[in-house]
C-alpha cells in the first residue's frame, strides 16, 4: 500500500464527525464554511436540480471549482462521472482535495470504474452494500459513503444502505476463518479485504452517510446507525434558511445522541426541501455503478 494512499485515508479520518455540504457558488461555500462544514463538494448543480433538469450531467467547470477553492480554507471535493478517468485527471490537475466518483452524474462507463490506484488525490465512492464498498476500496477509494438516493430529500435509501452494510460487516465478523475465502468469492473482492472486515469489524476506510439527508434528525439518525459523518447535498441550499439549517445539522452530528439538543436544533428551521418519495422517482441513481 502506498504512503499516499495512507495519507489519503487519513484525510478522511480528519473529516469524521463532520458534515460535507454541496455548494454551487463561492458564496454558498462561505455560508457552508461559516456554518461549520468540514469540507464542501463543489458542483454546478445540486442533485435535486440535476434530477429536475434531466439530460447528461458531467464534471463541473474547473473555473467554478477554482472559485470555490479560493473562497474557503476547508477541503474542497468535486465529482467526476463513474469511469471517466480523464475528468478525474483534470480534477487532480487543479489540486482538488477529494474526488467523488459519483453516481449522481451520468456514468461514462457502464462496466469499469476508475482505477483509482493510479492517482495521488484521494477518492470517495458511493456504495449500497458491503460488496460495492469493498470493490471500490480495492480499486483505490480511500473513503466510502452510502449512495442513498440523492436529490430526493428522502432518507430511506441511505438508511437501507447503511443497514445493509452494517449487517454484512456483522455477519462477516462472526464467520469462521475458513468461511472467508468463499465470502471473498461471493463479494468479488480480494480475501485480504474480507479478512480485514472480519478482524476489525469495520470497513478499512471511513464510511459516511449520503443521499437524502434533509434535517438535523436525518443526520443524527444516520450517525446513530453508525455513519462516521454526513454528506448533505440538496437538503441545505434547497431549504428555506440554508445557513440556519446547515448550522443545526452540524451540531446534530456532533451531539447525535442528545435528543433534547436536537429538539432545539430542529425548531424554526423554516421550510425543508420539498422532497420526492422513492417510489415517485423514475431514475434511481443508486443503481448506477455496482
Amino acid at each position: 500500500m502506498s504512503k499516499q494512499y495512507e495519507l489519503n485515508k487519513e484525510l478522511a479520518q480528519m473529516l469524521k464527525g463532520g458534515v460535507i455540504m454541496d455548494v454551487t457558488t463561492p458564496e454558498q461555500a462561505e455560508i457552508a464554511q461559516n456554518a461549520g462544514a468540514c469540507a464542501v463538494m463543489a458542483l454546478e448543480r445540486i442533485p435535486a436540480d440535476i434530477r429536475a433538469a434531466g439530460g447528461v450531467s458531467r464534471m463541473s467547470d474547473p473555473k467554478m471549482i477554482r472559485g470555490i477553492q479560493e473562497a474557503v480554507s476547508i477541503p474542497v471535493m468535486a465529482k467526476c462521472r463513474i469511469g471517466h478517468f480523464v475528468e478525474a485527471q483534470i480534477l487532480e490537475a487543479i489540486e482538488i482535495d477529494y474526488i467523488d466518483e459519483s453516481e449522481v452524474l451520468s456514468p461514462a462507463d457502464d462496466v469499469y470504474h476508475i482505477d483509482k490506484t493510479q492517482f495521488k488525490v484521494p477518492f470517495v465512492c458511493g456504495a449500497k452494500d458491503l460488496g460495492e464498498a469493498l470493490r471500490r476500496i480495492n480499486e483505490g477509494a480511500s473513503m466510502i459513503r452510502t449512495k442513498g438516493e440523492p436529490g430526493t430529500g428522502d432518507v430511506v435509501q441511505a438508511v437501507r444502505h447503511m443497514r445493509m452494510m452494517n449487517s454484512a460487516i456483522a455477519r462477516i465478523s462472526s464467520m469462521r476463518e475458513d468461511e472467508l475465502f468463499n465470502e471473498a468469492k461471493e463479494l468479488c473482492v480480494p480475501y485480504e479485504l474480507v479478512k480485514y472486515v472480519h478482524d476489525n469489524n469495520r470497513l478499512p476506510v471511513v464510511n459516511f452517510a449520503a443521499g437524502g439527508v434533509a434535517t438535523p434528525a436525518d443526520a443524527a439518525l444516520m450517525m446513530q446507525l453508525g455513519a462516521e459523518g454526513v454528506f448533505v447535498g440538496s437538503g441545505i441550499f434547497k431549504s428555506g434558511n440554508p445557513a440556519k439549517r446547515a448550522d443545526a445539522i452540524v451540531k446534530a452530528v456532533t451531539n447525535y445522541q442528545d435528543s433534547a439538543l436536537i429538539a432545539d436544533l430542529s425548531a424554526d428551521l423554516g421550510e425543508a426541501m420539498v422532497g420526492i418519495n422513492e417510489d415517485e422517482i423514475e431514475l434511481l441513481m443508486a443503481e448506477r455503478g455496482k
Binding site: 484525510l11 479520518q13 469524521k16 464527525g17 468540514c38 476547508i74 452540524v250 456532533t254
Partner: protein, 187 residues
C-alpha cells in the same frame, strides 16, 4: 488520571484508543455539560479547526477550557489542535484559545497533494514517524517556547509550559511515545 478528548469533530477516536491502550481513563467533550465531569488532562485532536473552534464556542465550552489551560492543565494538541492553541494565525482571521505564544500558518503545505510523511528527530524522544495532512506549521515562536522538532526548516512541534503541540498526528501511528510523555506531564 482522566483525559478529556475534545470530540466535537475530527479524529478523536484515534487519540482515545491510544490513551486507553496506555491505561488512561478517557472522557469525551461534546457539550458544556461534559465539562462537569472530572478530568485533569486535555487532548485537542486533528480535524477542521474552523469547525472545532466554532463548536467550542457555540456549544459553551470555550471559556472554561481556556481558563483551565491557562491555569496549567496539561494539553496535547495535534494539527487542528495546534491552530486552536495558537496566539496568532498568519493566514486566517479566526482565533481560538490563544494560549500558545506562536504564529502558525494554516494549510501551510498546500492542499491534500501537499500532504506527506516524514521520519525525523523530536527533542527528548528521538526519531519519530510524522504524518502531515493538510498540516499547519509554526512560522514564529516566542523565546520561552521550546522547539521540539523542525522539518524542512519549519517548526512542527513545540512545548510551552503545560502545552504540547504539533503539526502532525502521533495518534495515527503505532508509536505511543508522545502520548506517554503527555501522560507523564505534571498537573
Amino acid at each position: 488520571m482522566t483525559v478529556a478528548v475534545l470530540a466535537v469533530q475530527g479524529a478523536f477516536e484515534e487519540h482515545k484508543k491510544m490513551l486507553l491502550g496506555l491505561g488512561a481513563k478517557v472522557i469525551e467533550l461534546r457539550k458544556a455539560e461534559d465539562l462537569k465531569k472530572d478530568f485533569n488532562r486535555l487532548v485537542l485532536p486533528g480535524g477542521e479547526s474552523t469547525v472545532q473552534g466554532k463548536l467550542l464556542r457555540e456549544l459553551g465550552m470555550f471559556e472554561s477550557l481556556q481558563k483551565r489551560i491557562e491555569e496549567g492543565m496539561p494539553v496535547l494538541a495535534t494539527c487542528a489542535g495546534l491552530i486552536l492553541l495558537a496566539k496568532e494565525i498568519s493566514n486566517d482571521a479566526g482565533r481560538c484559545f490563544q494560549t500558545l505564544p506562536v504564529t502558525v500558518k494554516r494549510n501551510a503545505y498546500g492542499r491534500q497533494l501537499g500532504s506527506f510523511f516524514y521520519e525525523g528527530e523530536i527533542k527528548g524522544i528521538g526519531q519519530y514517524p510524522m504524518e502531515f495532512i493538510r498540516a499547519p506549521y509554526i512560522e514564529k515562536a516566542d523565546e520561552e517556547v521550546s522547539v521540539l522538532a523542525e522539518v524542512k526548516g519549519n517548526i512542527v512541534a513545540v512545548q510551552y509550559k503545560n502545552q504540547l503541540a504539533m503539526s502532525f498526528h502521533p495518534e495515527l501511528t503505532e508509536d505511543t511515545r508522545i502520548h506517554e510523555q503527555f501522560l507523564s506531564m505534571i498537573d
